[in-house]
Structures are given as structure tokens and as C-alpha cells.
Symmetry: C2
Subunit: 290 residues, 2 copies
């Protein structure tokens, strides 16, 4: 069995034999780097040797199932759990192996505005054993997802455009002029998170990044960390988690979110790496292959 997390800018594949990952392969061949019509040959280029060894089942998740991907896999509706996803796999045309794509999940926020995810549903499935059947999970990133798990299924979720807004504000507004690149400054990050809890709103708080720099209350090495804390703080304040939050994703980012959650006195647990591989394995077990 071959499991693949194929996203916008990355490709990660796992070979699983007798339930254990025996090989893995990672590349920058995200879907945006594949020519139209080139997905089958792109896949063969990446995992040809494993196919040559006789692997015949490939399960993929992520943006590969989007309109810009190989085959569009229609969204499953919330609530969606491992069985719902396994039933809704979509086949991609490929000679010599059965290739299936996990659908994304669609929901609405409390105001009725549409919500979508692709890839995160599989990561959630991958940590279900660990986080339990009733849980709140957060998958931080460009588009952070806050997911409510009920009875072992994704009951609903909300996305915050935090990472992408951070990059746009740092790189394309006056704020970036007083910021130096460098490692995260945890104290400045925490100050930003605490600022998010004060009155005035995000757009006002953003201007404060500028004035504090002008009056030497925020140094060039602190600026980006403070801005990051400010935005993540606003995200956490809006998400209003009540119980423990399970963080899923890259370790460094999860640690930042854990720091932010601590400022809100919310308990955080980092739910670990390779969630996509575990989720794909779990869905693959439940799927009916030819």
C-alpha cells in the first residue's frame, strides 16, 4: 500500500507493508508544479520503484483532489468520519495500480458561511485514537483550521486566514519596515498575544505595531514575533476554545500555538507528526478496493 499526502506545494509518500511504514519519500512536487495532464506521469516519477516492486494500491489526500488537482473529489459533508470518507473515495485513472483520492470536507460556520478543508480531514482521522471521540483540534497554518470532533467524526470547523494575513501584512505594509528576520522571540510573541486580548480590534492593534516601533517600545528583532503573536492571539480569542486543544502540524508552529493558548490559560497538547500517513492508513483499511 502506498499513502500520499499531496498538497499545493509538497508531495509526501509513504510505503506501508504489513501495517508499518517501510519507506518514505518527500519532494517539492506540489500540485502547482505539475503540468495539466501530468499527474499520472508525475506520480510514476516519484514512486515508480515501489510500483515496480508490486504495490497496486495508492491512496492520496490533500489538494490533489481539488479543481486544480488530478481529479476533483467532491467534498463530503459534515459530520464526516473515517467511514464516510472511505465510502466517498474518488478514483484517478492510472495504469498498473488502483489510485484513490480522499475527498475534502465541507461545512458551514454558525452564520451559514461555507467552510472547506482538503487534507486536514485525513490528519484528524490520523489522530482520532489519540485525541478521542469528543475533542477540539487546531491545525495551524496559512489557513488555520479549528475542528470540533463529536462521536469520532468531524462535526464542524472554522478556518482563520492567519498565516497568509501575517505574510501579507509583514511583507506588504509599512509594518515590515521596522522588522528584521530572525528566530521567534517568545517574549515579544507573548506580548502580541496579550495585546490581542485588549480592546480596540485587530485593525487598531496593527497600527500599534507601528507606533510601538516608532517610540522604541518594540525592536526590529521583536517586531515579527509580536505581529505573529497578535494575529494568533486574535485567532485564539475568536475560536474561544473551552477545553483542551489538540495541535496537529509542524512542530515549530504547534509550539507557537501552544504558547498562545497558554496565554489564554487553555491547555494544549501537540498531537504529533505523520498524522496524514496515519489517517490515510486508517481510511485505506475501511475502503473497498477492487
Amino acid at each position: 500500500m502506498i499513502l500520499i499526502d499531496w498538497g499545493t506545494s509538497s508531495f509526501r509518500a509513504f510505503r506501508v507493508e504489513n501495517g508499518a511504514v517501510t519507506d518514505r519519500r518527500e519532494s517539492g512536487m506540489g500540485i502547482l508544479r505539475v503540468e495539466p495532464g501530468g499527474f499520472a506521469s508525475g506520480l510514476r516519477g516519484e514512486i515508480g520503484p515501489w510500483l515496480g516492486d508490486g504495490e497496486t494500491h495508492v491512496l492520496m489526500s490533500g489538494m490533489i483532489g481539488s479543481r486544480q488537482g488530478w481529479v476533483e473529489a467532491p467534498y463530503a459533508e459534515c459530520p464526516a468520519g473515517p467511514d464516510d470518507l472511505a465510502r466517498a473515495l474518488v478514483a484517478a485513472p492510472f495504469e498498473g495500480a488502483e489510485v484513490r483520492i480522499v475527498p475534502g470536507v465541507r461545512g458551514t460556520d454558525p452564520s451559514g458561511v461555507p467552510e472547506v478543508m482538503r487534507g486536514e480531514e485525513t490528519q484528524i482521522v490520523g489522530v482520532l485514537d489519540r485525541i478521542g471521540e469528543e475533542a477540539t483540534a487546531c491545525l495551524p497554518g496559512s489557513h488555520s483550521k479549528w475542528v470540533t470532533v463529536r462521536r469520532g467524526r468531524i462535526a464542524g470547523f472554522q478556518t482563520h486566514m492567519t498565516g497568509e494575513a501575517f505574510a501579507a501584512l509583514r511583507d506588504h505594509t509599512i509594518l515590515g519596515r521596522t522588522m528584521q528576520d530572525g528566530p521567534t522571540d517568545p517574549d515579544a510573541f507573548r506580548r502580541g498575544v496579550r495585546r490581542a486580548r485588549e480592546q480596540g480590534g485587530l485593525l487598531h492593534h496593527l497600527f500599534g505595531v507601528r507606533t510601538q516601533a516608532l517610540f522604541s517600545q518594540l525592536s526590529e528583532t521583536e517586531g515579527a514575533s509580536y505581529l505573529s503573536g497578535l494575529l494568533i492571539g486574535h485567532e485564539v480569542a475568536a475560536a474561544m476554545p473551552s477545553g483542551e486543544v489538540h495541535l496537529i502540524g509542524a512542530a515549530a508552529l504547534c509550539e507557537l500555538y501552544a504558547l498562545a493558548l497558554a496565554c489564554f490559560e487553555v491547555r494544549a497538547e501537540i498531537a504529533g507528526a505523520d498524522a496524514a500517513a496515519s489517517g490515510l492508513a486508517r481510511i485505506a483499511e475501511r475502503a473497498s478496493w477492487n
Copy 2:
């Protein structure tokens, strides 16, 4: 008397004789387009003929008094009214006329974070007769100012980075991909404003711009207006004006803000153009010239 509103990207001069504007001149010679050390000759290039006619008093406001301008004019502290500003004028070296710069104003927000303005204080002074001694004014723009006037002085103010955040998000995130340039769509703008009043926070609402476009709930001609309404709506929600709001600035932008305030059932009044010229005239009257 010559009055000049000299900002980052524009230069606007008024010639006043016997209390009436008899000539005006506008150019794109903002302070960022003037070489270091070139302000005196730049000024002479713009208003040489008026000086040749015998004008000897020049009063300026705006970013010309900033660190990047001609002479840095230290901020006046809140509360600041016309007399405070007139007492704090700073001279710029110029042969053949007395040139003075109105200082900006400095305050702090309720959390103690610094606030600054340069130019807006003069516009406020320019509309004081109209808005009265106790008022709330809003000067929309890249960095919108909400100003509380008490006893005819600027008692405090808060800035929101709304215009600049709008441009960064439209031009440098995924949101711009589903937006076409065009005139403001008032209905889409109002939908954005109303969205700002729903739960979830700005970073979540931003992602909704994307999903609504994906599901054909927001067209390419509506996208930018909706995003504008969303951001201005968040600004108004955070500013929480209680009474009438006096809008000062460019007519089209003031009309948008009036539309947003109407969604919050807040009364708005557009306080008119040339506020800078009126304010400069009022401060000039109170100043002691040599």
C-alpha cells in the same frame, strides 16, 4: 498668507488674502518625492510666484513635519486644540518668508499604546466650528483616525490600519484571485459590513471571502467591495461610536463610511472638504509671527 497641506504623496497649497482663498495649487510632490535637503527649493518651485507677489508667511501641516520631512516638529500631547498647536509651531529655514510647521499630536489608547497623527489635527481644527466642542470625528484612509473632541480640543484618538490592510489583503493574498477591479458595489459592501457583526473574528471572516467566491456566493465584481465592507465594518465595530460621527476626508471614502455607519444605525455627517486649509487658517490666526 500661504497655507500648505504637505503629505507623504501630495502637496496642496492655498493662497489666502483678506481671509479668502484666492488661489490654490496641487501637485504630486509629496515628501517622499523630495530629495534630502531639497524642501526649500521644492517649495520655491511650487509657490514662487506667490512669494514674488510679496507673501511672507507660510504655514504647513502634515508629514512635512515628520522625521522624513523638512524639519521634525515634536508631537503636541493630547489634549490639543488650536491654541496648543499654534504655540508649538516649528520654524523651517527659508529665505524671504517665515515658514512654520504645525506639530502632529500624540496620545495613548486606553491600553497605553502610543498613538500619533500628523495632518489630521489640522483638519479637525478646520471643522471645529461645524462639529462643535464635543464630538466624535472619523478621518478614513490608509490609517483611519477616530478622534474624540472635548472642549474644542483633541482629547484622544485611535488609529485603524484599515486602508493599508485592505490593499495588502486584496493584492497579496489568495483573496484577490477572485476579485475584479471596478466601481464599489454598495450591496456587496453592506454584506461585508454586516458580516463584520457576526461571530468568528476578522481572520475567520477573511477566509469566508474565499469560500463564498468558491461556492459562487460572491461574484468577481462583488469581491473587493465585500472585503472593503468587511474591514470597515470591523473598524466601526471596534470604534464603537455612540453618538453622531463626523466624517472628514475625500468624498467617496466618506460616503462609504457613512454607508457602513448606517449598517450600525449610527448617524454620520460628512464634514466637508478643504478641512486642512480651514484648520491652517485658524491656527495661523492664533500664531505669533515675527
